[in-house]
């Protein structure tokens, strides 16, 4: 599953917009008469130059293709890394320089 990561350096901070392509199924939705099993991100970690700045617990109520925007102190050239795990044991990550 791909991650769109857009870190932008601005005045001593890095503004980070990211979108993770993920169905975020709640396990309550029916498709063709059958329940679609839960399939959602459970946690996400954001690091700058290898140091974790945020760790999030994510529930099934986050919209499909989760979008997040936040900021962290940093400068142009710093490398932002986002990684996640989902309830099916799958994971993904992406890195980009601000």
């Amino acid at each position: 599953m791909s991650i769109k990561l857009k870190p932008r350096a601005r005045n001593g901070n890095i503004d980070i917009k990211l979108l993770i392509k993920h169905p975020m199924e709640t396990g309550l939705r029916k498709s063709k008469g059958k329940l679609v099993p839960a399939n959602h991100i459970t946690d996400m970690t954001v690091a700058v130059n290898g140091t974790t700045v945020m760790k999030a617990d994510i529930g099934s109520a986050v919209s499909k293709d989760p979008y997040f925007k936040f900021s962290t102190p940093g400068n142009k050239g710093d490398e932002v890394t986002v990684s996640y795990n989902d309830n099916k044991g799958k994971s993904g990550s992406a890195s980009k320089k601000a």
Partner: protein
């Protein structure tokens, strides 16, 4: 009464009905004036965002979505990759994607009918791959969205010049104003005469500006879809049997609607409810 009507129609045919009375510019001027009068505080270019121009609460959410990473950004990028991978630029009609967007819909004098961008894409796809492409969503919508993105900022400029083109335009206009279906509603009933009002929880969008942001992403679809997809869905909602996508009725309707938007900028902001 019926005899009189038949006599009148007969006379019209006998005289040789010309298209001299069809004046798209006069139609557009009247159209714009109608909406200006109805909403004196809405700037003309704002009609490009449709219902959001008249609905502050939802406009905030619309702008929120646009300021983030839009749910369709990925699909549009994919459309660009598919365009390149399939080599659709080989078709003369799509060699210049931005120009292709601005050109469509147009009246093809040789084929004697209105051609929409999706119809050209479908034709090119078939020539290049030998396969048929689904008409309303998926790949065709991605390709159309990417092609349309290339023309963002350019002005809509639909030409209605020949007699045959005017006749098609007039048919499209007639479709727009004709009542149909179980509810006996025309496009105009909601999108002109009752625009800005609510149908349950939805604000009825004004028809002015309808074709600036095609193809659109609808949150309800969770994906991109073409104008004909929207037309078909709406007709079904109105309990009317929908016309065929890429067929004459929808092509003419798109032709009329697009002509009403001449001068509006094509936008890449495709998000709708």
């Amino acid at each position: 009464m019926k005899k009189l009507t038949t006599l009148f129609l007969g006379l019209s045919v006998a005289v040789g009905f010309t298209n001299a009375n069809i004046d798209p510019q006069a139609d557009q001027d009247a159209f714009i004036n109608y909406f200006k009068k109805a909403n004196p505080n809405v700037a003309l270019e704002d009609y490009s965002v449709g219902a959001y121009a008249l609905d502050e609460i939802n406009r905030g959410q619309f702008e929120d979505i646009l300021s983030g990473i839009t749910p369709y950004e990925d699909a549009v990028e994919k459309g660009g990759e598919e365009f390149a991978d399939l080599g659709l630029g080989k078709c003369a009609a799509l060699a210049d994607p931005a120009a292709a967007r601005v050109k469509h819909p147009y009246f093809d004098e040789v084929q004697g009918k209105v051609i929409t961008l999706e119809m050209t894409i479908a034709k090119c796809y078939n020539e290049v791959t030998g396969k048929k492409i689904a008409k309303n969503k998926g790949r065709i919508a991605r390709l159309s969205a990417w092609i349309s993105d290339q023309a963002a900022g350019e002005k809509i400029n639909v030409k209605v010049e020949s007699d045959a083109a005017k006749a098609a335009y007039q048919k499209g206009k007639a479709t727009f104003y004709a009542k149909r279906g179980e509810f006996n509603l025309s496009c105009a009933d909601c999108h002109v005469y009752n625009h800005g009002k609510k149908a349950r929880a939805d604000v009825l969008s004004p028809a002015l500006g309808h074709t600036t942001h095609l193809p659109m992403y609808r949150a309800k679809w969770g994906g991109l879809g073409t104008l004909h997809r929207r037309y078909g869905g709406c007709m079904k909602n109105m309990r009317a049997k929908p016309y065929k996508s890429h067929g004459e009725e929808f092509a003419n309707l798109e032709f009329y609607q697009a002509r009403m938007n001449n001068g509006f900028e094509i936008t890449a902001d495709r998000y709708r409810k």
